[in-house]
Amino acid sequence: MTQYFELVCPSRPENVGLCRVAVATFAANIGFTLSEIEEIKVAVSEAVSNVVVHAYPATEGLIELGCREIEAGIAITVRDEGVGIQDVALARQASFSTDPERMGLGFVFMESFSDDFHVESAPGKGTRIEMRKRREAPAEGA
């Protein structure tokens, strides 16, 4: 059976770290390098922070985190049933943010630190983000 885990938790700021460390531990167990894991942590932190800050701005909802090993590496999904994104293309632009205390770099980091990145969202129906990252090929003779 393929290795995987799922984690569902309330959209509280303290759970950003929980999700980040859970994925980092999973990635370490399936052979990612430390530098790859650092990138994965940033991508997961951005995705989960977006759920806490933007998906449920006035109430508490659920963060649904999924992680599974794929042939080339890891696939991570972050899903919510919050307010959704009005304009995904606009939200993916660098420096776009509805919050003046944020830099609008969340999607930039998610895209930069993953090899494949996909967003599905609809206003009022929530958002699903999938990020895939390939493992570095092991060095010859390793």
């Binding site: 950003v16 770290g17 460390v21 951005e46 922070s49 205390e101 944020r102 830099m103 930039v108």
Partner: protein
């Protein structure tokens, strides 16, 4: 790795004249952002003109932490002040800082001794 989850950020502040140094340690993310924002805003409100933020003890930084840094830069620059960031030469914190472009407005220094004299 699991023992690091939820470890609160730590911040130590030293003041000398109108210069303050804030040394941060831990994970600078959405959870840590309110505390760091409050502490740095306190320095700005107290009239500090130069704030050195030492990030060498920070193990993790994302856009929530960056937003706090940039927001403080905006507040202090409106009052004619400056922020300097001290960071390790490599690692994920450095990578995030470089990618964000913050060095265009806040110098990235290797140590506090590189901060220009007032």
């Amino acid at each position: 790795m699991l023992e690091e989850a939820g470890k609160p950020v730590q911040i130590a502040i030293k003041r000398q004249g109108r210069t303050a140094t804030a040394r941060l340690a831990g994970e600078f993310d959405l959870t840590a952002a309110p505390l760091v924002r409050e502490q740095l805003d306190g320095l700005i409100d107290a009239g500090m003109q130069r704030i050195v933020i030492d990030l060498r003890g920070v193990r993790f930084l994302d856009s929530s932490g960056l937003g706090v840094l940039l927001g403080r830069y905006r507040r202090l620059s409106e009052r004619g002040g400056s922020i300097y960031l001290v960071t390790a030469a490599e690692g994920s914190v450095r990578t995030v800082l470089e990618m964000s472009g913050v060095r265009q407005v806040m110098p990235l220094l290797a140590s506090e001794s590189e901060v220009p004299r007032a």
